[in-house]
């Protein structure tokens, strides 16, 4: 522990020194200001994700502004709340684009909102970088729409392959949230991946957003004795499912497999011991040894008193991706130039990994499969 503390202190010290020297050396050339809009769900059903997204981006912006002289760019964020509703999302986009005149919008939190709001940005010729939109077709809206979030379709097939290879599962039970776009999309991805791997689905059970009791579905599943339990859920429901499954006596030898939604420290915190050995296909590897990532996790935990989740990581990465593009765009208020620069982001070192955009402006980097060991996520395979 003390060793880690020491490393942390040194890192902070070094960062300070670097920052100061940077500021001194470029004190004369004042940095250019980039106005970035954030449309996040700070209230409403998705408030939990909007909150960590705001934290993640806040952290990145503070880091960048602290060494603005060195980066040559200073970021002025405009945070707005889409209240988890498409209607509000549209209003917020209009404001950010036409009143605040931001150069790019990061967000919105929910795919449903993105489906409507992103069209406004596309029409106005302003780039959007989605950080948690996983529904299919979001980037098909137009050539100004990007995302750094891997979709369930990109994450899940790999997960199923890895798990199948390791455990040789033949028949599974599938449990998913059927009234939420994200969990429904995850369900589709799982179903396809399971079919491709010729794994039999014994039963498909669903639940609704906000449900906390899953005993009826899990009892049904338990009675069919599957080799594995495959779950598409967001973390609130996921922790309940995991702990109730174990409590109802679905044995630890039956692995529980989840997607992006499971990739949050809350899972371990709220499901406790039951979360051991849960397998998570994810777009961000918390335990990655990448120093950038290590630094992010440390700084975030120090600043907000809780470890980051995938939403925070994707938001954090997004700010750096935009920064990278802004530097190459040669201007901080030219939306078209920024769009061009974004398409050329390639092999950028981020907390998510080596990041590029695909031709279709989707995220392109390797997903991971994690598992919970001794109360922490560790890599299971890639």
């Amino acid at each position: 522990m003390s060793g880690e503390n020491h490393v942390k202190k040194t890192a902070v010290f070094l960062a300070l020194i670097l920052g100061l020297t940077g500021m001194c050396s470029r004190a004369s050339a004042s940095p250019k200001v980039a106005k970035i809009g954030f449309a996040l769900s700070m209230t409403g059903a998705a408030a939990a994700y909007g909150e960590t997204q705001k934290n993640g981006s806040r952290l990145a912006i503070d880091e960048i502004n602290a060494r603005a002289g060195q980066e040559g760019i200073k970021i002025t964020p405009v945070f707005e709340d889409d209240a988890s509703q498409p209607q509000q999302g549209v209003n917020v986009f209009n404001r950010l684009l036409f009143a605040d005149k931001v150069v790019i919008i990061i967000g919105p939190t929910l795919s449903n909102t993105a489906q409507v709001a992103d069209r406004i940005a596309q029409g106005a010729g302003a780039p959007v970088l989605g950080i948690s939109n996983t529904a299919k077709g979001i980037t098909d809206i137009g050539d100004y729409i990007f995302r750094d979030s891997l979709t369930e379709m990109q994450v899940i097939p790999n997960t199923i392959r890895v798990v199948e290879k390791r455990f040789g599962i033949k028949k599974v039970a599938l449990l998913y949230g059927n009234d939420d776009a994200f969990t429904k999309g995850g369900y589709d991805a799982f179903k396809k991946a399971l079919g491709d791997s010729h794994i039999q689905i014994l039963t498909e059970q669903s639940f609704a957003k906000g449900d906390r009791d899953f005993s009826a579905q899990l009892t049904e599943i338990r009675s069919l004795q599957p080799d594995a339990l495959v779950v598409s859920a967001l973390v609130e429901e996921a922790s309940g499912i995991v702990s109730q499954a174990r409590q109802l006596g679905i044995p630890a030898s039956v692995p529980i497999i989840g997607g992006n939604g499971f990739n949050s420290p809350s899972l371990i915190k709220n499901a406790g011991k039951a979360s051991e050995n849960v397998i998570v296909g994810a777009a961000w590897n918390e335990s990655s040894s990448n120093p950038l990532n290590q630094g992010f996790v440390r700084a975030y935990t120090a600043k907000f008193g809780a470890p980051p989740d995938q939403f925070a990581a994707q938001a954090y990465a997004a700010v750096y991706i935009v920064l990278d593009a802004l530097k190459r765009a040669g201007s901080t208020d030219n939306r078209k130039a920024l769009r061009e620069a974004l398409t050329r982001v390639g092999g950028l070192d981020t907390v998510l990994g080596k990041f590029s955009f695909t031709k279709g402006r989707d995220a392109d980097y390797a997903p991971v499969v994690e598992t919970v060991k001794d109360g922490a996520f560790t890599v299971f395979g890639q």
């Binding site: 709340d81 549209v90 529904a135 429904k184």
Partner: protein
């Protein structure tokens, strides 16, 4: 919109210069106006649609029936019209009308058993109906499930929304003075007294319910063709309650109450932003406080602020 900033410098005469200044000012106004519409255009559209939806609830309320199923009727209208335009290439006005009619037909079917229930119990029954409709939309494949129906052509314009709103408001004002309108008002005041006065209360309650559903269905169709995507969640419990809030905050004594309520409440997030209230929990809280103050201090709703004193 380009500013005529570089007018010929040689235009030296005073008149010319005056004209140039006027032109420039005018152009600046045009720019400001177009900017205003760029920023607030969708807000204006949503406000109009919310007002239309609020009116759809006003109709049963004006006949004393507390329905919480109008968001569901809007959902039926939205899905039906969107599916008709997308799958069967039905012309837009016809598909919207069909959405309204189907919503009215469903209202007719459930009205007979449900409208025998009174007061808060009717509210619960219609709410339960709304939930069933929402869950159907979540589970059916034709509606696109939870991910929603995506790719609805964008056909609705502000003119249509406000045209529909004005027509509905005009119709309802005229209705107020008709046999039907008086019957609604009598039932709302005292159903028993209305009965012995010769009013077929069952029939008029149904008329109010069906008419409300029709308006909601039309509003839903317009909403669907404004937004490119519709999802079941938009027509759920909180939407139902929102419509009731528009009515109570605006006042249900006249057609203008719900309209005023919807317009003002839709604009509140923008107003709070302009007032510098930061986004997030604080804005939510202030929103709640405003609602509370209106209910406590304006018993007849916001519209009583604008009404002339008797």
């Amino acid at each position: 919109m380009k500013l005529p900033a570089d007018l010929p410098a040689g235009a030296a005469s005073r008149a010319d210069r005056g004209l140039a200044i006027r032109l420039r000012r005018r152009a600046a106004e045009v720019v400001a106006l177009s900017e205003f519409f760029a920023v607030y255009g969708s807000l204006i559209n949503f406000a109009g649609l919310n007002a239309l939806l609020a009116l759809s609830l006003y109709v049963p309320l004006s006949a004393g029936q507390l329905s919480l199923g109008n968001a569901a009727f809007a959902g039926i209208g939205a899905y039906v019209s969107a599916l008709l335009t997308m799958r069967l290439n039905v012309p837009f006005p016809m598909s919207v009308a069909a959405g309204g009619c189907l919503a009215a037909a469903v209202a007719m079917a459930i009205g007979a058993p449900v409208l025998r229930i009174k007061g808060i119990f009717l509210a619960m029954a219609t709410l339960a109906f709304g939930e069933v409709v929402r869950i159907c939309a979540v589970n059916l494949s034709i509606t696109g499930g939870a991910e929603g129906l995506i790719g609805i052509p964008n056909k609705t314009t502000a003119v249509m929304i406000y045209g529909a709103l004005a027509a509905t408001a005009y119709f309802l004002t005229a209705l107020r003075w008709s046999q039907t309108g008086w019957s609604f008002a009598s039932i709302r005041e005292d159903e028993t007294a209305a009965m012995v006065m010769g009013i077929n209360t069952t029939r008029y309650k149904n008329v109010a319910f069906i008419l409300g559903a029709f308006i909601a269905g039309i509003a839903g169709g317009l909403y669907a063709h404004l937004n490119f995507i519709i999802t079941p969640a938009e027509f759920g419990f909180s939407a139902e309650v929102q419509l009731l809030i528009y009515n109570i905050v605006g006042g249900t004594r006249s057609v203008f109450g719900p309209i005023v309520g919807a317009l003002i409440l839709t604009a509140i997030p923008e107003a709070l932003r302009a007032a510098g209230v930061t986004a997030g929990p604080l804005r939510l809280g202030v929103n709640g406080l405003i609602l509370l103050l209106v209910i406590l201090y304006l018993p007849n709703g916001l519209s009583s602020l604008f009404a002339k004193k008797r």
